[in-house]
Symmetry: C2
Subunit: 147 residues, 2 copies
């Protein structure tokens, strides 16, 4: 009756494929994705597990849908709007709608986290040249972002 | 910009109150509840962390809404419909709509888990005498349930 995904150690689940983070692109580095629940009418939330290898990073992007994150493994940081937050195990972070955001693993450790999104969601946008320049006008953000 | 709940060790989060599981009742034992995200229009899922002390148990109940569970701590078991599943760290379990279910911690360890539900959900029902007798007609379930 229950759908059970047994954890098999080191954040792999039986029967769950380890996918590329995205199909193509050079705007991210060393990220994998596992879909733990696709979501449907009764609970319209898709649950994924992402893992970023040491020194890797996700795409700098924004979209209307929100992220709700629970860190499970390692350390890292996230840009969310104009803020850079540290990420340690079991921290819970909401990335609100429409803000530029990017996740980075620490240099020495990976960053693994659950990420919850609406099952029906808009496509991410990457920054235009002018938007990137605007973001990078803050030297702290300029030092953080990878694009 | 981001809403951050920093984990402060042992599954407590800064600023998050440790609540009773339910306001009243004798049909559960040694369960606490923390609300990590209430959910809203953009992501209509409420995220809670429940912890059941060793030998404790949640209410035997059913409802139309689903549960999506991610175990974070300890060991236990869950009844879901006619099935009893073991729960170990990072297992992901979906309890479907309308099935009788109950969570129990192991005797020696607590059971802590994330539980995701729709922010708008129906009230749980407890079994009537005849429904309980029906459930207990299976000796394995009879030995498992606490009510």
């Amino acid at each position: 009756m229950a759908d059970v995904l047994k954890h098999q150690g080191n954040f792999h689940w039986k029967g769950v494929e380890v996918l590329d983070y995205k199909n193509e692109g050079t705007h991210f580095q060393s990220v994998t994705r596992q879909i733990l629940s696709k979501g449907h009418h009764e609970l319209p939330a898709e649950l994924r597990y992402f893992e970023i290898a040491p020194a890797g990073y996700s795409t700098l992007e924004r979209h209307e849908h929100e992220h709700l994150i629970v860190v499970l493994k390692g350390r890292g940081q996230a840009l969310s709007g104009a803020e850079i937050v540290t990420l340690d195990p079991f921290d819970v972070v909401r990335i609100p709608s429409a803000v530029w955001h990017q996740f980075r693993a620490s240099r020495g450790e990976p960053l693994g986290f659950l990420c919850l999104v609406h099952k029906d969601r808009d496509r991410p946008q990457r920054p235009e040249v002018e938007q990137l320049a605007q973001l990078q006008s803050d030297p702290v953000i300029a030092a953080f972002v990878r694009s």
